[in-house]
Amino acid sequence: MQLITCPWCGPREEVEFHYGGQAHLAYPDDPAALSDEEWAHFVFFRDNPKGPFAERWSHAAGCRRWFNAVRDTRTYEFLDVYPMGQSAPEVAS
């Protein structure tokens, strides 16, 4: 039952948020140009690191806005939160 800091609303209970998977996976500019294998990697393959991981989150029961967060997958600690569209920050793990 963590507190997660929404970039707009501030710290809120974990239950107000919805997890959205890995961040910074941009939709391809021209999917038709991709091979089947490349397309399958985009649709199905995701990183699974131990340590800091950039993820999409939505403040679903609050402002309903999506944001990105870097979370330590070992401790669940949120190392940083930042608005959609920004590059992933450098974080010490």
């Binding site: 039952m1 963590q2 507190l3 919805h18 959205g20 941009a26 939709y27 021209d30 999917p31 038709a32 991709l34 089947d36 397309w39 399958a40 985009f42 649709v43 199905f44 999409r56 939505s58 679903a60 309903r64 806005r65 999506w66 401790t75 669940y76 959609m84 569209g85």
Partner: protein, 925 residues
């Protein structure tokens, strides 16, 4: 009677009657069941789970590893500790023969929860915790203090002197100061049972159990406090542990601190002929107190020499002290009668009716462990205590291994600590067990687990205490190893020939004590379990005798039975009425999303498989949404209201999911698109008027509307008004019949519905429910996402290839359609199944297998061709029919397959998905 005058904090002016094992007893308010039984000389309260041995009361609070009872009245509740059940008038309880019995009547008690934020949460109102709370309050902080006993003070007996006064007076003074502080919440009878990230603590408050039948009806029985604290102070004290010896499970054996607690808290002298077996100084206080209350006491100290300070006090009171002693066995049955001892190598038997044991103290650092605080073995203490600090958490007092009173006061108040006499402390001896038969040396009394079990586990090759715990079940009972856990670690270390610090101990996890599911559920039981969504017309449906079904959180009218009609008869009647005349449905639950903005059309083009930007204002288009994997995600109609405004209609169950999906794409991938999404599901009530007579009904209800096919074509919408109220009507059909969807602001739902019923009365307009709606759409092969699909079905599989644009450069899912697997003709495809006997209704979910002329199944594994997704009786067809997903189904139309039903193989013919009016002649009336 073992009640001692001048002792106890119970209310002796009142008597409470209770029954245990069918025998009537009395006690006093403030007693627990255990203290009241002990006051009558009753020690045995049950029998053990495996061996059927007598079990007694082993402690005075939650660390008791035995002493479980079944409460029968006021409400049946199993597996409660007699030591924690507060006595109430009329209590009926019985001993447990291993397992309890759940109630067969409903629990009408109420439970709730409360959220609290504070600067500092202090858990434990013993001397350290009280002072920590006082210090925080004096700093002006918002403080929450929770403590699990009926009153504050922890283990202070009143014999101590703090600040020159008896300790109980000191406690009362601190409590009064806290009560006067405006930002202090002080909760007794409240157990903090779990700590989680970021200062979150769950605490269970027992609000009425001690009040019995006098409990006010407006008070919840238990409340879960959800406390968010900037800082948590763990002042939870420590649990005494015993030493393990043969036959250490007899009634009449308890922790030394327990006997002291029973005396000072309840005024009960638990025995008259007392033997105290100890490895440390703390048990001497119990020996002296019991002697002072009238018992004859002998102290067996396991250490080679007795501590001089305590030995001198014992000599003054004629208490025999025998250093270098060990208990190696006991005698007795339903109560102990004697102990077998070894002193300096010499065996001796001592008679006794109470044996107290003290093998040391385990810091109760459970809450610290819950948030990944590490515990480390301290050889000087002979116990595990908190190691590195955890941010936001302090552990003070005995929970941190500070066992002396002066140290606890200093931990709580720092330089502001009140004065108390320091007692000389002699090092404890670490002794896990004495000599004896391992099969009779109980480690976890509740689990009937012995040293022999640990030996067997180690002999089987187990080395980790976590594994040994699960192999032996030690530490898994109601007490979660509060006394047995560290002992088990110690014995494992001995058997492995390793230091205890290397074997470690198991991690403490929530809950610290058992918590009823009812308390966790709180108000979310029965009707409050999940929000119920109802349409504006709900009361009309109820009055009309509708039977409801749950669709997500919605209560939807499923059918309207006539007197003596069952569902099948009602649905057949409703279907016939719609296709033969006119019906009306409450379709208000369909999801509706208002999409506005200059880029609204572009957004929809990217999400739907078909083109939406070419939709003209005033027109409607059916569309499908897919995931990136090309699988159907949702479907529905889209109305173009203006150049920059669309109304997206989704499935009822998919409404929230579709809105989230659209919002996610908009915000994450396409933030440059200028479009906004608003759910208007509840703002609009929707009443499809369906059937060959529907145009007549609409014409009668809306005289100013031209409802001719030329003026009001299929898949178009028009606005009109009635008595100044705007109404939007859309020609959309989910049944293949001529149909008009009437949309009105939900405030006018009832008036509009009654108007439509009145207009259609001459044609016997018939309300119909979701079941009929399902049959009508299935007869036309219209799929329901989530029923006929499961996330692995593409639009082409459903026969919706016509809705997939080939012109658009891209949309979500398009690239997947060109994958070889997506065009595999052997994919499962939606078809109809017609049972050959024209009578059997195939159960939904039935598997489809190849037809075999001899009517048998091939040997397993039987190849599965697909499954039935929808199945109904059809009034129109005069027979049952089904929809199914079948491998290569579209190319197998006309084939016969088998469907196993109740052990028989039912032949069924594969047909096209449109069974009624395949030429579509009925749509325009």
């Amino acid at each position: 009677m073992s009640r001692i005058k001048g002792y106890g904090r119970i209310d002796r002016t009142r008597t409470v009657a209770f029954t245990f094992d069918g025998v009537a007893y009395t006690g006093h308010p403030g007693d627990t069941l255990a203290s009241a039984l002990l006051a009558q000389g009753v020690h045995a309260v049950g029998t053990s789970v495996k061996f059927g041995r007598p079990r007694g009361i082993g402690a005075a609070w939650v660390e008791d590893p035995t002493g479980l009872v079944q409460i029968e009245e006021p409400f049946p509740e199993p597996m409660l500790l007699a030591a924690t059940v507060e006595l109430t008038d009329g209590l009926v309880a019985r001993g447990l023969a291993g397992q309890g019995r759940l109630a067969e009547v409903a629990d009408t008690a109420r439970y709730d929860r409360k959220h609290t934020h504070c600067d500092t949460l202090v858990v434990g109102a013993g001397p350290a915790g009280l002072l920590a709370a006082r210090s925080a309050a004096r700093r002006g902080e918002r403080v929450v203090l929770v403590d699990d006993r009926a009153d504050a003070g922890g283990s202070l007996t009143g014999t101590e002197v703090i600040d020159g006064r008896p300790s109980r007076e000191f406690v009362a003074e601190v409590v009064a100061e806290l009560a006067a502080a405006p930002e202090v919440l002080h909760l007794q009878r409240t157990t903090a049972f779990g700590q989680y990230d970021d200062g979150f603590v769950l605490a269970l408050e027992r609000r009425t159990d001690h009040l019995g039948t006098a409990a006010p009806r407006n008070l919840s029985r238990q409340r879960v406090h959800r406390i968010r604290a900037r800082h948590v102070v763990v002042a939870t004290g420590a649990h005494e542990r015993p030493v393990v010896f043969a036959d250490n499970d007899r009634p009449g054996i308890m922790l030394a601190s327990a006997a002291r607690d029973y005396l000072h808290r309840y005024g009960v002298l638990a025995g008259r002929e007392v033997v105290v077996f100890t490895t440390n100084d703390s048990a001497y206080a119990a020996a002296l107190d019991l002697e002072h209350a009238g018992a004859r006491v002998t102290v067996l100290d396991a250490r080679p020499s007795a501590p001089e300070h305590w030995a001198a006090l014992c000599r003054e009171r004629s208490i025999a002290v025998r250093p270098g002693s060990a208990v190696v066995g006991t005698t007795g049955d339903r109560r102990i009668t004697g102990v077998d001892t070894v002193t300096a190598g010499k065996a001796e038997s001592l008679p006794c009716d109470l044996l107290l044991t003290s093998g040391g103290w385990n810091p109760a650092a459970h809450l610290f462990s819950h948030v990944r605080g590490a515990l480390r073995y301290d050889p000087a203490l002979g116990a595990f205590r908190p190691a590195e600090p955890v941010p936001g958490v302090s552990v003070i007092g005995a929970a941190n291994g500070t066992f002396d009173l002066a140290g606890c006061l200093r931990d709580g108040a720092g330089d502001d600590a009140p004065a108390t006499l320091a007692e000389p402390e002699t090092a404890p001896l670490v002794l896990w067990r004495t000599e004896g038969d391992p099969a009779r040396q109980f480690v976890d009394i509740q689990r009937d687990a012995t040293v022999a079990d640990i030996e067997r586990a180690v002999g089987a090759g187990l080395r980790s205490v976590e594994h040994i715990k699960r192999y032996t079940t030690i530490g898994t009972a109601h007490d979660q190893g509060k006394t047995s856990g560290v002992i088990a670690s110690g014995i494992v270390a001995e058997l492995l020939g390793k230091p205890v610090e290397d074997t470690g101990t198991t991690t403490f996890r929530p809950p610290y004590t058992p918590v009823a599911f009812a308390a966790l559920a709180g108000r979310e039981r029965g009707k409050l379990f999940d929000p119920e969504r109802i349409t504006s017309l709900h009361s009309w449906h109820v009055a009309a005798g509708a039977v409801f079904e749950d669709v997500g959180q919605w209560k939807r009218a499923r059918y309207y039975p006539a007197p003596h009609e069952n569902m099948d008869a009602a649905v057949l009647r409703e279907c016939a009425a719609v296709r033969g005349g006119v019906g009306i449905l409450d379709g208000s639950t369909l999801g509706k999303i208002d999409v506005q903005g200059p880029d609204a059309a572009e957004l929809l083009d990217r999400l739907y498989t078909n083109m939406m930007s070419t939709l003209k204002v005033g027109r409607v288009r059916y569309g499908v949404m897919c995931g990136n994997d090309g699988m159907v995600f949702d479907d529905g109609t889209v109305l173009r209201l203006a150049e920059d405004r669309f109304l997206v209609v989704t499935t009822t169950g998919g409404a929230a999911r579709v809105l989230d999906w659209m919002e996610e794409w908009l915000q994450t991938e396409w933030p440059d698109l200028r479009a906004h999404l608003t759910s208007v599901t509840e703002q609009w009530s929707v009443f499809p008027v369906v059937g060959p007579r529907s145009r007549d009904v609409i014409a009668a209800a809306f005289p100013h509307l031209d409802v001719s096919n030329e003026a009001f074509p299929f898949m178009s919408w028009q606005d009109t008004e009635v008595d100044g109220v705007p109404v939007r009507i859309a020609r959309i059909s989910f049944s293949g019949e001529l149909a008009f969807e009437v949309n009105v602001n939900s405030w006018y739902a009832r008036a509009m519905w009654l108007r439509l019923l009145s207009a259609g009365a001459r044609w016997n307009i018939t309300p119909y429910g979701t079941e009929t709606m399902h049959v009508l759409r299935a007869e036309k092969g219209y799929p329901i996402v989530g029923q006929d699909t499961d996330g692995t079905v593409s639009p082409h599989d459903l026969g919706l290839g016509w809705a997939v644009s080939k012109k658009k450069r891209d949309f979500v899912g398009k690239r997947s359609f060109s994958r070889p697997e997506n065009t595999n003709p052997e994919r499962k495809q939606l078809v109809s199944l017609l049972p050959a006997d024209a009578r059997t209704r195939l159960p939904e979910g039935s598997q489809v297998v190849e037809f075999r002329p001899d009517g048998t199944l091939p040997p397993p594994p039987v190849p599965m061709l697909g499954h039935v997704t929808s199945s109904y009786h059809s009034a129109e067809l005069g027979r049952p029919f089904a929809l199914a997903l079948v491998k290569g189904g579209q190319s197998r139309i006309g084939d016969t397959v088998h469907v196993p039903v109740d052990g028989a193989l039912v032949p069924a013919e594969i047909g096209g998905i449109v069974l009624v009016d395949p030429e579509g002649a009925r749509r325009d009336g």
